[in-house]
């Protein structure tokens, strides 16, 4: 290796900054900052349009009892549907993720992952169609059965709906919709579980399930939790499927199977907004602001959990 001679001229300046470079770097940075501004703008414009409803006298707000009384049942309905979806979807999604990563035959496993991802590609309005035309009628016997046998619980107090357009059906439709989100993230973390841990467990004589319980689940736990939170965020904000399926609008109730259900924030906006005028619009935007704050909090928490895991990812 021959030593090259150092350039004889001392460098008079640091690296040249061409105008092209400056413009390009500047515009790249500007778009990054623009995105932050958009997010801030979403909050700012919603607040500015919600203010008339916040300051209006209580009897002018639709419902006549003030904004709090208007939004509270909607918040309850939103949380009820989303939590129900989460309870149904999370165990299923974990099972699916385990199946595609450790149980399915190797050759078809990736294809099965794609098939599950297809569920995420279907537009929400089509889920609404399906929920209304297929799932709701199919679940009517379940409603009747639940009212008969589980009627002592406040959730199944009945009387059972005859159309099936209830919070229970909505929860199941939402569960199908968030299933691919949770299972995609779970699949990713499960497949990243350190091979050494897995092989060590198997070498010690563990069965496949014991290997998963000892090496995969502890590693993937925070990923599953984060994925579930992301799914929760999606279920909270889901609009069209709920608007089509649910026959809502009644006051606050925990009853999942009767024909009087609280509506959800998002579906209430979709149903009322096209015909709303004046203060009605401001009220709906104020309820949208509440939804925005709830989903923002859930999403930030979820991202924090997912990202925290990435720091000690044991993929090395």
């Amino acid at each position: 290796m021959t030593a090259t001679k150092a350039p004889s001229e001392p460098r008079s300046q640091r690296a040249v900054r061409r105008p092209g470079d400056r413009i390009f770097a500047g515009s790249a940075k500007a778009s990054g900052i623009f995105i932050l501004l958009v997010l801030a703008g979403v909050a700012a414009f919603l607040v500015s349009e919600a203010v008339p409803a916040l300051t209006a006298p209580a009897e002018d707000v639709p419902g006549g009892e003030g904004l709090g009384a208007y939004v509270a049942p909607l918040v309850l309905g939103t949380l009820l549907g989303a939590v129900l979806a989460l309870l149904v979807a999370t165990p299923l999604a974990v099972g699916i993720a385990l199946y595609t990563t450790y149980y399915a035959p190797r050759r078809v496993a990736t294809g099965m992952g794609y098939v599950i991802d297809l569920l995420a590609a279907i537009p929400s309005v089509v889920y609404g169609f399906w929920g209304l035309a297929v799932l709701a009628p199919a679940l009517v016997p379940l409603h009747v059965w639940a009212a008969d046998t589980l009627g002592f619980l406040p959730f199944f107090a009945g009387p059972a709906s005859t159309s099936g357009r209830t919070m229970l059906t909505v929860g199941l439709v939402l569960a199908v919709m968030i299933l691919p989100i949770i299972s995609a993230i779970s699949r990713e973390v499960f497949s990243q579980a350190p091979a050494l841990h897995r092989e060590a467990a198997l070498a010690l004589g563990a069965t496949r399930w014991e290997m998963i319980r000892m090496a995969v689940l502890p590693y993937g736990k925070s990923g599953v939790i984060g994925g579930a939170m992301l799914g929760l965020g999606r279920a909270l904000g889901e609009t069209m499927a709920v608007a089509i399926v649910l026959s809502g609008g009644a006051g606050a109730t925990l009853n999942l199977i009767s024909s009087s259900n609280p509506s959800t924030i998002a579906s209430n906006i979709a149903l009322r907004f096209p015909e709303a005028t004046g203060l009605g619009i401001n009220t709906l935007i104020a309820s949208g602001l509440v939804l925005f704050v709830i989903t923002l909090a859930v999403n930030m928490l979820a991202r924090w959990i997912v990202n925290r895991r990435a720091d000690f990812s044991g993929a090395n």
Partner: protein, 359 residues
């Protein structure tokens, strides 16, 4: 491994007491037992006279039980638990297939009735009963989605370039975090944002196609950023260094070396982002509304879009209900086909434009 240190094996002596024997079920036995359980379940539900759903439920429960009990008695507790979990996990997967198959089947069955030329060439202008189509809505969806793409791709791509090539420190972390958070904004909130923005600019009761495009952009930008960022990270640093070492300015390195190398992934990411927003209904419902005629100018009044068209055909049918329902289902079918086609295109792009690797 050498075996020469091992002493010569003595003649096999029969063990004084029986060693633990590993007993296993034959390879196909669990499957057979499961099927037997299924059949039994079908029989039980046939006797009680119940429907298809309960047949499957009984069958799955009995099949799982049969496998578990057999494994428990032959192979022991631990193996039995393993087999039980295998059954449960497989059931979970099969259960997830039910809605997918049912949904596609229903939409196909109901949607094919009006899947004809009239649907694609006629609008709903002065149509009150049968006939009519979604020509105006399909074109409206294409115009608004194209506009949203034209807004989102430059911003999203430049942000991804910034994050990968330039950004450091707090601003980078802030942008990454908030882009992630932005992917979770409910679509209806994005619609309300566009509505509030344009109401402040142009006064009350404004409904424009471009409002819908802005709302869709809010949903699309974070998706574009995330996918482009992942792809740009994959471009090998050697390429950048080689180009810079030749004295090429950094911006030309990015434009001429980094982006062309990543073009396949960028195309895929953008196409998937389009697929995500093309079926969005809620933001268009509150910003663009619906009309029956054809309006292709996004800066002038209401427009029709396919998802909103489908929604109103279903929920607000006129006197001839069946005609409206048929149109709604066909619109849903077209929507699914559109999204699936975009997904296929995305895979094709990633295959066709993939960088040629060395032979």
């Amino acid at each position: 491994m050498s075996t020469d240190t091992r002493p010569a094996a003595p003649a096999p002596v029969p063990p004084s007491r029986p060693v633990r024997v590993e007993r296993r079920l034959p390879r196909l036995a669990p499957l057979g037992l499961y099927l037997a359980g299924l059949a039994l379940g079908a029989g039980v539900s046939a006797l009680t006279g119940s429907g298809l759903a309960s047949t499957v439920v009984y069958g799955v429960v009995l099949g799982t039980l049969a496998v578990y009990l057999a494994a428990r008695s032959v192979e022991g507790r631990r193996k039995a638990t393993d087999r039980l979990v295998t059954c449960l996990v497989t059931t979970a997967f099969a259960l997830a297939m039910v809605p997918l198959v049912s949904l596609v089947w229903t939409v196909l069955g109901n949607g094919l009735a009006r899947f004809d030329a009239t649907f694609f060439t006629n609008s709903m202008f002065r149509v009150v009963g049968e006939g009519g189509g979604a020509y105006h809505a399909i074109l409206g969806t294409l115009v608004i989605t194209a506009l949203a793409t034209a807004i989102s791709v430059p911003i999203g791509l430049m942000t991804a370039v910034y994050l990968v090539e330039y950004a450091t420190g707090r601003l980078k972390r802030a942008i990454t975090f908030f882009v992630d958070v932005m992917t979770g904004i409910p679509s209806i909130v994005a619609g309300l944002f566009a509505f509030a923005l344009f109401t402040l600019l142009f006064g009350n009761d404004v409904r424009l196609g471009v409002m819908g495009a802005v709302a869709l952009s809010v949903l699309m930008i974070p998706v574009v950023v995330r996918s482009c960022e992942e792809v740009l990270k994959l471009v090998p640093n050697e390429l950048r260094e080689a180009s810079l070492a030749l004295g090429v300015p950094k911006w030309r390195t990015i434009v001429k070396v980094v982006l062309p190398t990543a073009i396949a992934g960028l195309g895929t990411g953008v196409t998937l982002a389009v697929a995500r927003v093309v079926g969005e209904t809620a933001p268009l419902l509150v910003t663009v509304g619906l009309i029956t005629g054809t309006n292709l100018d996004p800066f002038d009044g209401r427009m029709a879009t396919l998802p909103v068209f489908a929604y109103y055909q279903l929920t607000q049918p006129g006197t001839d209900t069946q005609a409206f329902l048929d149109r709604a289902w066909t619109a849903a079918l077209v929507l699914i086909i559109l999204v699936m086609a975009l997904n296929v295109v995305a895979r094709l792009i990633s295959r066709l434009l993939a960088p040629k690797t060395g032979r």
